[in-house]
Symmetry: C2
Subunit: 233 residues, 2 copies
Amino acid sequence: MKDCTQCIVRNRAICAGLEPDELEALGQLGRKQRISKGQTVLWEGDDSVVVANVIAGVLKASMSMADGREQIVGIVFSSDFIGRPFAQQSPYSVTALTDAELCVFSRATFDSFARKHPELEHKLLQQALNELDRAHEWMLLLGKKTATERIATLLLEMSVRLGETGCTADKSGLDAFELPLDRRQMGDVLGLTIETVSRQLSRLKADGVIALPDRRTVFIRDRERLQDLAAAV
Amino acid sequence: MKDCTQCIVRNRAICAGLEPDELEALGQLGRKQRISKGQTVLWEGDDSVVVANVIAGVLKASMSMADGREQIVGIVFSSDFIGRPFAQQSPYSVTALTDAELCVFSRATFDSFARKHPELEHKLLQQALNELDRAHEWMLLLGKKTATERIATLLLEMSVRLGETGCTADKSGLDAFELPLDRRQMGDVLGLTIETVSRQLSRLKADGVIALPDRRTVFIRDRERLQDLAAAV
DNA sequence: CGATGTCTTGAGTCCCGTCAATGCACGTGG
DNA sequence: CCACGTGCATTGACGGGACTCAAGACATCG
């Protein structure tokens, strides 16, 4: 890689906090890779040969069953990390929901580099713990929330996380955004079917809580009401 | 603490791999604590003041909603780690399902010790990644599996994890074990109600897949069939 | 302007949740 | 020892929320 100091996600990704010489060394190990929408970069159950940092774009991490049922276990945004360090196999697949740009490392190489650079392992730990928190939150959603609550929660989550991507750090979340997911994928994140997702969205729209100018864009018209419907902890 | 070298979980817990002097230093920071069944040691949303290693017993990590709905997000066994390092607040509550013994650290103290001891942070990372894998697996269960599949999966999981606790490392899992969960708690892990759990267990019993000599003990009579019913990935 | 894929909407069904009664084990006290 | 109360689990009857199946609407693109 040419020059990590110019990287857009430099301050939020796991590379943040590395010394200049460490950053340089890590940069030598990785390569930038462009991925187009729909492309899968990691396969569940396959040998874990690569890990990567997301520079731009949105991807999904998913697991599926023998009969094809699929659960999306994570939505991956820019500056997030994908892949499974320190394990033989990848526990999930990763597929691009939009065109994306990755900073890819050989897993074995990355592992040994990480073991020699505590600051990097610390960042990895932070990132893993944050993801674990989000996974727990989502288990609550999948185990206990109603369809309406799930949809409301997802919309708010997307509003916030898509907002973070733009460096503006607007904590409250965007009021208008484009969904990187189609209806099926929303269903696969929420443990619902495509029809239920569609019906719930229609209802929120009819109630004036949101507007849907087209299939992918969402306007939040009444954030407070949406938050009530999400029935947060 | 007196002497960590004698600790039962010494070889599986995060302390594994520490140098003798590191172990000694860490031991100085912790204290053993006995917990009785039903007692809560960490509260969701409270300041994250302590973290701990589980020496003996089984605990649950849970999150709940304003109206009381509760989701168990993790079952914690001996040698597992509880609490949230590097964060202000605890994202979940932890409650003992059986009498238990912990090795407790002040979170702030533990954090700064960890930052100075890369080997410890590496173990923490491994443990966080493993837990993340399990959380993802469980998201698939909560999002996509039927009641029967959920129950079968839980029984197999308990069979394996309770088997690991005894140092024998019998990979296949126990055929007879005592559930540390009551029916309500099983429901709260699986995203089901107490009645559905009970009905499913009765059906597995009627079909000869399992036997239930009493409320808490399970005999697996036909493991293969149970595995089929679990509809694993 | 069809062709195609995605989304929406409707009608019917089913699995699981809700409500309620009963069963069972255990402990306490008469 | 038995009566009674308590807490948990089981079982049954019923209803509802989400799933299934099936049209129909809409957008995109050749």
